[in-house]
Subunit: 236 residues, 2 copies
């Protein structure tokens, strides 16, 4: 008991003057393991006992960093959010925008599957299907990530329409739904049979862009995925 | 302890001569509640303690019906499989086949979302994203349902191609992936914002069928969803 209190006090005082290197490292080590477990088996699989065992730490040592199971779960979801944001959402912000950014965003999403960004398929599709409609900070965080993803997708499409590179005859929300659906389908097929439909998805995406693009985009850019990527590089 | 053993013996002897009405009813009552919890919060949310509390039963009473947490989880997943199969997979078996069955299958899938067949969105998309790649009977059962769904979808498309009602220029696996992706997208959008893209999905599906159908299907059948459903009724 005293040990727990000592750790809590220690953690509290550390927080006040920002965590020292060792405390930060331990916290990161715990979160990395938690992310690995949750990414494969879901947030519900996280327990202080299991983490303590896998990390060869005392439960009280863990409690010093995460004062409750809920705090640990929330920190894990937020860490996953950071990973997803850094790999998929943020990189497109520096791209030129327009139709190229629509491509970039979908391409980065596909890469996060192909590159196994997480240890398993849980974040964030599985997480959404498990937590949406439930209350509490974990459910809110998980829903927020999916909302941000769909918002970014829609905004990117709208931007391409406003820049005059995509026809405005179809509502951006519907287009975003359609793109998201294709990506979910790729993930599902990949999980189930290892079928890599990412190539088909990229080909379908390019065909779709060709059909919807305005005359601002030269016809030859759509000849192949290589031609398209070459065109994007040149105009960047 | 004696109580547990008594219940186990009781359950065992009942099983031998098929469970009597009361035992069956209790088992069904437990499974119904388990299905409700898991459908909303996932299989991991099932605990003997929680179920016992919600059903106002003793834990030993529950253990009499499900000898372990794993047995309870597996029985719950199998009950969900039965519900899904009865609502989506089986009804199409009696339909005529061909392009109408492709429509029926997707329509029934959309209805299972619209009609909230389960208490929440977990079965089976969330379940797949949480369990695929893991070992054990629960993961196997969950993966089996998704595989059966995709297999049924592909077989239905192949049948329509073999009957000469759908062009054979595209591989049935790819078409099944495309259809599955649209349905997943509908579910995702519905969860996140309550957006009902099911109408758009049905319209898109009809447009897709029109484009791929052979001359076996009269052109007027594709005029609207109502016209299409009318055509299917007449030819049934």
């Amino acid at each position: 008991m005293w040990k727990v209190i000592f750790h809590l006090e220690h953690d509290r005082s550390c927080k006040a003057k920002s965590l020292p290197s060792q405390g930060k490292k331990t916290r990161q080590r715990i979160l990395a393991r938690a992310l690995k477990i949750a990414g494969r088996e879901g947030v519900a699989a996280l327990t202080i006992g299991r983490l303590a065992k896998e990390l060869r730490m005392s439960k009280s040592g863990l409690f010093a960093h995460f004062r409750s199971k809920q705090a640990l779960e929330l920190a894990t979801v937020e860490a996953a959010e950071q990973v997803f944001s850094d790999a998929v959402l943020r990189p497109v912000q520096i791209s030129r925008g327009g139709v190229g950014r629509v491509w970039n965003l979908c391409d980065l999403w596909l890469r996060h599957i192909e590159g196994r960004l997480f240890s398993g398929p849980y974040f964030f599709t599985g997480a959404l299907f498990e937590y949406v409609g439930r209350s509490g900070p974990i459910a809110q965080a998980i829903t927020r990530v999916s909302q941000e993803w769909v918002y970014t997708l829609r905004k990117t499409v709208e931007d391409a329409q406003e820049k005059g590179e995509l026809n405005q005859d179809i509502d951006a929300s519907w287009i975003a739904w359609d793109l998201n659906a294709s990506l979910l389908g790729v993930h599902f097929a990949y999980l189930l049979k290892g079928d890599n439909f990412a190539r088909e998805a990229r080909t379908a995406l390019l065909g779709w862009l060709r059909k919807r693009a305005t005359e601002e985009i030269p016809e030859g850019a759509f000849d192949s995925i290589a031609a398209w990527e070459n065109y994007l590089r040149k105009r960047a």
